[in-house]
């Protein structure tokens, strides 16, 4: 039996408590993503792409349904266990990079270790390795605020990789980049995927979607 990196079973997400103010962001989502797969999730604004990503990344809980990560239902886990998953099993890349601007690139990549529940002995060598892998090692002592958009995104990707998660979740990772830098980042994602990481990318960008193994289109909270 094939084990999926992520499996969603009849997942729904509804915002708002009162009946009249309820907004259904997602409904009846059934989705299976294999390990090592590169999936692009496309759709117009407000279609539910980011909500889906947040649910898969343990940032939010579904209103109903099950989400299995590596065969384990993450919707029933405690807050602590979900934090552990965010720290060790998934890595996030955001459109606005999500970096602390007044810290150096090196310090930003180190952040996930601050939240590790176990002491990581080789954290510095890991940081150096991923920074080399993403091409920002030479910028390690520069403040993030001094970096270009593409450099920032590489630092963000390095941070997502540093704890060696199996799944990388990216929300519009090329949205704030020029076309040349965008191509570089897409290539970097493709390389990361080739190394066996499962890659789930929410994107509007056709080039990014073309690089994926599979493209899922979301419309009005449903996968088409």
């Amino acid at each position: 039996m094939e084990e999926y990196a992520i499996e969603l079973r009849n997942v729904a997400k509804i915002y708002g408590g009162r009946k009249e103010s309820k907004v259904t962001a997602l409904s009846n989502i059934d989705l299976k993503i294999r390990k090592g797969e590169f999936v692009a999730i496309c759709g117009v604004s407000g279609s539910g792409k980011s909500t889906l990503l947040n649910l898969m990344g343990c940032l939010d809980k579904p209103t109903s349904g099950e989400i299995l990560m590596n065969g384990r239902d993450i919707t029933i886990l405690s807050s602590r266990a979900r934090a552990h998953i965010r720290n060790r099993e998934t890595g996030f890349v955001l459109q606005d990079f999500g970096l602390i601007p007044y810290r150096t690139a090196y310090e930003n990549v180190l952040i996930p270790f601050y939240f590790s529940d176990k002491r990581v002995k080789d954290k510095y060598s890991r940081v150096e390795r991923v920074m080399k892998q993403t091409g920002v090692y030479d910028l390690r002592n520069r403040r993030v605020s001094k970096l270009s958009g593409g450099e920032k995104q590489r630092v963000a990707i390095a941070r997502a990789l540093v704890n060696e998660p199996g799944i990388i979740l990216a929300d519009e990772p090329t949205g704030a980049l020029d076309s040349k830098t965008k191509k570089e980042i897409i290539k970097l994602f493709a390389d990361i995927n080739e190394q066996g990481k499962t890659l789930i990318v929410v994107t509007h960008d056709k080039e990014m979607a073309d690089a994926a193994h599979r493209v899922l289109n979301i419309k009005d909270g449903h996968i088409e």
Partner: protein, 350 residues
């Protein structure tokens, strides 16, 4: 920009709230301010003081006038002789009697530029206060941090004899309170003041009474708000406003900087694996830092502004300010964090 505007609104509200809290503390600290306010309110309805001047050519009339004040206004401590001109006194000085700082109106400090010889720290009382104590044959009284030697008490006391002697007065008029006075010589005029704490009915009754005994036709009605009082009020108002603006600007800068910075950090921490509990602890820690900075700014502003304006507060008042400030800040931080939490939940649900 929309996000920034939303943040700004919150920061402005929080900063304003903190600034108002600090300003309120100044009001609480500055007890005198409320006295001014109450005076101001009173003066809208009545003057703070009336004055009338009589020429007591007929001593018996004056005696009779003051000895027979109607029962309704019998609290004669409301009527004070504030000045007198002595007929045969070459210096023609006016001796002013000032109510003492203490709440007791029974104590007056004998003062006046013309009495240079009278040493500071000497008191004349119309009667010996209960808190006075004896030492080396003299009576002393401790008021606040100063020790006063009571050089005389009561009618015809040593005090007046002392003043007479020092000033070379041979004929004099003296009094402490109007129910307790006598005239030993004719004076050209007497200036009386009476307090507007009298009810309006009693005030009119007293005026009519005085008119029947004397030829006073007009009661001098001082300005509702004296220029000095107005100026002092403006100064204090400016003080409060300056402090308010100062705190507003400083708090806004601190809060907007920290919160704007921290808001993203919480999200970053979350995606990097921080637990909810840890984020809550981070927020509490950050709030404490913001509060501490804001507190330091407020306290420093208070001290600097006092230095600039020359406002003085006693050390106990300053300690009180610091402690009240601290307590209020803790409450404010708890309230702000509570509101923030509720607001965050509402936003999240929305």
């Amino acid at each position: 920009m929309k996000r920034l505007a939303a943040y700004n609104q919150t920061y402005i509200l929080v900063s304003l709230f903190l600034a108002v809290v600090v300003a309120a503390q100044f009001l609480m600290l500055d007890d005198g301010y409320f006295d001014y306010i109450s005076q101001l309110n009173a003066s809208r309805f009545k003057t703070s003081r009336y004055e009338f001047v009589i020429a007591p050519s007929d001593q018996d009339t004056v005696k009779s006038l003051l000895a027979n004040i109607p029962e309704e206004v019998s609290d004669t401590s409301d009527i004070t002789v504030v000045g007198m001109t002595l007929v045969n006194d070459t210096k023609s000085s006016v001796i002013a009697y000032y109510p003492a700082i203490s709440s007791s109106r029974k104590i007056q400090i004998l003062s006046g530029s013309s009495i240079k010889e009278l040493e500071e720290g000497e008191l004349v009382c119309d009667r010996l206060p209960d808190s006075a104590f004896q030492l080396d044959g003299y009576n002393y009284l401790k008021l606040k941090d100063s020790l006063y030697r009571i050089i005389g008490t009561g009618n015809g006391s040593d005090a007046y004899q002392y003043v007479d002697r020092e000033m070379g007065v041979t004929q004099r008029l003296y009094c402490t309170y109007s129910d307790y006075w006598s005239i030993t010589a004719s004076a050209s005029e007497l200036v009386f003041q009476y307090d507007s704490t009298l009810s309006i009915t009693n005030e009119k009754r007293l005026q009519s009474y005085i008119q029947t005994y004397t030829d006073v036709k007009e009661f001098i009605r001082p300005e509702s708000i004296s220029p000095e009082f107005r100026q002092e009020m403006l100064m204090r108002f400016a003080y409060i406003v300056t402090m308010l603006l100062f705190c507003l600007i400083c708090n806004y800068s601190i809060i907007s900087y920290l919160f704007f910075k921290l808001k993203d950090e919480y999200q970053i921490s979350r995606i990097c694996g921080a637990t909810e509990l840890r984020i809550v602890l981070m927020k509490i820690g950050d709030l404490l830092i913001v509060g501490a900075l804001s507190y330091i700014v407020g306290t420093a502003g208070y001290l600097v502004l006092n230095r600039i304006t020359g406002t003085t507060h006693t050390s106990s008042e300053q300690i009180r300010f610091v402690l009240i400030n601290l307590a209020i800040y803790i409450c404010v931080l708890l309230i702000v964090s509570g509101i923030g939490g509720i607001y965050g939940r509402i936003r999240h649900r929305a």
